[in-house]
Subunit: 431 residues, 3 copies
């Protein structure tokens, strides 16, 4: 049973209805070769737990990669009581209960070995993957694939590929990136023209293997104004040879490649997920996956040239700073190609979701709202995260729409269906 | 009947009381020669519907100016179901029910011709204007008049003129603006001195014809620091002759003229509405009226020199970015001449109003809050917009003041009266 | 009786429990030689009342320092009805009722003399201080001591010293500051080395007399990047002789001294409260204490170098702009040494506290949250301010934790105890 306590019967009715629906998850970091967790460490290793425990006092070394899985789990468990107030902790407990029949109310150092045994050690992978998949009622999960992923070995109608382009835009000056690109495309990338050829080859490869979206996370400092490829040609050549670049050259190269990627999205009719805001590695001594934050001083005004130029490309957008959410509502209200995409990372907290969702439901056409995605690394997290969102959505619709505006339950359900099913399917799965 | 469903009896009692009050609307774009709509197209043509429909997929051409009114209405109706979740849609339905006895729960393509007929085509203008006026219980509506408006042909105690100064500050370098200014004032505007003369003449003309406020909307890039008129004299001469200007000259001229306008507001004892934030035409391919957005990175700190210098001028201020609202609360709490003015445009959504209003009521003296204005282009919209606000105000007072702080209903009503009647009348209508 | 009206029985139960606890107040401006008010003017003189009355129309001269206390009180009372909607007014009424048995529902010009008499004129100081202390159930109150405070004449286990460093960082170029520093430390401060010696002497002096924290308020323009002391040596010498400095020199000196202070915090194991945001004297014509505001365009990203470098120093952080609160949640979630500290000044309004607190409770480990501090100048204000916070905390826990997430009352109480007792004690009072 999910740990759902909803005292408002209308909200409960909405939640129960949504619980019967399949889940379309348009953004995750699931590894399709190993989608569900094989042991407790793969669940507790989710950066939310390691970073919160570290933030609460656990030395980063306690979850070092070289430790045994059970040792990491025990080490982390010693700090879980410090963060048992968080919503992230509640996901963990919901997983333990739903997927492993955990009878306890919490996860303590005394209980951690029992839970470790219950989750199992290297259990039968594929059987378990299927079990989690069906219990979650999954319809499709989008992946986040590196550009040199072979995309082989799984059913891409279930696990839909999505081309992640961070490295191409932000790290083209690293030898490793260029080598990976050459090797993935068999194009001898040396200059602007061959770079374009290689990127085109990537898109072709990805789309042929079922990719339905392109995605990138962009730092606050990035402003995608229209580049001048001609001016950048020399810089690109230098970057491709890993020669030193001036800051303005870096900047120009990033804008050129980003623009080129959007052109390919237009050609291949792919939505381009823009995840705006993270500063990577701002806390280098943190645990793996827990080193990034943001600078809240961002504005979608920096993206207006892009949104105008590529009117045929759909941009599902997530912003990382919770206080930037109102701007996304306004831009989605005006620009046909801007789609508010879920609630991301530091904004993925019920208090922020509730405030933002109420505004989206009041000011953005219902056919444009993509309610939620899990961003999960392991299948097990999809259900508790979606349940968290469905609870907030149920409560918001019950209070703001049904009670305050006199909507019928059916009308509220229809809007929820747009957010959770119709829009994700139409924007990401068709076409 | 308004589509008001309020389950909380205390909120309902407050709302019912406020519904008996007249409406003082201190900012609108009503055309006093044609205040109410003459057909459905004039209602559906409100930019909220065209821009939301366009954002939801309707080509801008479907509501082009050259089409027949009924064709535009039909085209738009085909997209209304995509935005029937929005609060803007609810205004439309409330208008249909309140003013046209519309018996349906929605407005569909199948029903649009029936509604079109019901609203009528070129109905008796003046009779209808009066009917809407009295049903809305209007006391006064402030207009937004271009500086060369003759201000003739209507009762300026009902439709109070307000001098809109956007063009003067932001477009003085356009030949058309200077010509309009010369023609409106009969002053041969050629330099700083004659420009000042002309602006003084405008104020005199406006005030003599009942104007009670000056208004301007300012872009995020505008920072009204104190200008140096002497240094700007040459630039102004060049601008008045439509000669090319450097960006810094544009900037200086804007600040000079703006400062001059505030001096006239001081002399003529007019409040100066500052509407801070819009970037005009950021989406040029949008529908008419649906091309503007904002950059959220604004701060009232940029206005501190102005607020200090003109301590005798009242500045009712609206900010466009919803996340900037807390700053306005703080500035109104400290500066005697800062008045938080309603909830504007992209901030005019119940979720944002509720959050902002709760803070205003807790931290700004009640005598300084101007609750709401309609910003409407047609009289019919004043009632549903004010009702939306009165619902939020009723619910906020019922929850935060009456239930949480033990206020009596009378005390809550008295505060509401300040926001809706006393303050607008004192700040805008007296003096 | 506190003016607490809580209709939700669960929230009421939580509030009643918290009301039995002692209060640990980790930041105030109490004068330990005269902690409680000696007359009504010392209560009404709190800047919240004078600035709100001034903002609502009272000339600043009506509360000038040279007036008699009763005259100031009468003058202010004439404007209190304009701000009786504010939460600050409710603190005053709660003080009147709780500490002076005030039987009325309000404080009017007609009643002000009666209240003045009731509060008394120069009542027996120490007896009254004790009475307020015990009625408030105070455990400890942190002070904010200027660096040249002798720290003598009171029990520093009750009134815990805290080294305020604003002048050292921001005003070292003023002769008065350098003279005070020389005189406080007996160090002939002339250059970088002797400055360091002097600051070390201050820390030694303060810690020896029971100081448990260092504090500073920093303007939005301050970005504490790592300085280069060598490069700054000449500038520091010039500043110490009050010679003219270039803006970049000012900036460098501030960063050098600030960095040095943090090094001493590391050495002496003191938490360093960072109060981020105020622009001082932005409204020079305001009343005393009511001249400061903020620029909301701040980001903790500017502090990342500091947070990384001093991993051993705990930084309790308050941000002044309410819309910056979500960033603090995220930084506290990642950085072990970032502690969200109460709700400060313009953010200390129930509507902002509620929104922020809900997120903190969902996303930051409970062992890291320092719930509240009073920031008070007189003892009497500690209770109503803490009560305000405890009400919001009770309601948030009742709604979000107990009702929405199924927590037991005990579990909610345990979290509240962390915020109000365990964390303040551990972070500030131990070690």
């Amino acid at each position: 049973m999910p740990t759902t306590v909803m005292q408002d019967p209308t909200a409960r009715e909405l939640f129960d209805e949504m619980s019967r629906w399949p889940i379309v998850d348009v953004h995750s970091h699931i590894n399709p070769h190993r989608p569900a967790a094989r042991n407790l460490d793969e669940l507790l290793g989710y950066h939310y737990y390691t970073e919160l425990a570290h933030s609460a006092g656990m030395p980063a070394e306690h979850v070092a990669a070289e430790l045994e899985p059970w040792a990491r789990a025990r080490n982390l468990a010693a700090y879980l009581d410090r963060l048992d107030n968080t919503v992230q902790y509640s996901w963990l407990l919901e997983i333990a209960r739903t997927f492993y029949g955990w009878p306890q109310d919490n996860i303590t150092p005394e209980l951690i070995d029992a839970l470790y045994d219950r989750v199992g050690q290297e259990r039968d992978g594929h059987g378990w993957d299927s079990e989690v998949w069906s219990k979650t009622q999954l319809e499709t999960v989008f992946l986040t694939n590196e550009f040199d992923d072979a995309l082989e070995g799984w059913d891409t109608r279930q696990y839909v590929p999505c081309l992640r382009t961070d490295d191409l835009v932000l790290k083209l000056d690293e030898t490793r990136t260029v080598e990976r690109l050459r090797s993935a495309t068999n194009v001898d990338v040396q200059d602007y023209a061959s770079l374009r050829l290689a990127l085109g080859a990537l898109f072709e490869y990805f789309v042929a293997r079922g990719a339905r979206a392109c995605a990138i996370s962009l730092p606050p400092s990035f402003a995608p104004s229209r580049p001048c490829p001609k001016r950048a040609m020399t810089s690109i050549r230098r970057a491709l040879r890993s020669m030193d670049l001036r800051p303005d050259e870096h900047d120009e190269i990033r804008r050129v490649i980003f623009w080129m990627l959007v052109e390919f999205c237009a050609d291949f009719r792919l939505p381009f997920d823009l995840m705006i805001g993270p500063i990577r590695n701002i806390y280098p001594n943190g645990v793996a996956g827990g080193r990034d934050l943001f600078d809240r001083r961002v504005s979608l005004a920096d993206y207006s040239e892009l949104l105008n130029h590529f009117r045929g490309v759909t941009f599902p957008i997530s912003t990382l700073a919770p206080d930037a959410s109102a701007e996304l509502v306004a831009y989605a209200w005006i620009f046909p190609n801007v789609v508010p995409l879920g609630h991301w990372w530091y904004s993925n907290v019920p208090a922020y979701i509730a405030a933002d969702l109420a505004a989206r439901l009041q000011a953005v056409p219902k056919t444009k709202l993509v309610g939620y995605y899990s961003d999960a690394y392991k299948l097990e997290f999809i259900l508790p995260k979606f349940n968290m969102y469905r609870r907030v959505l149920s409560e918001t619709l019950a209070a703001d729409a049904i009670r305050a505006r006199g909507w019928s339950v059916d009308r509220a359900v229809e809007v929820a269906r747009h957010l959770l099913l119709d829009n994700p399917r139409r924007i990401f799965c068709s076409g």
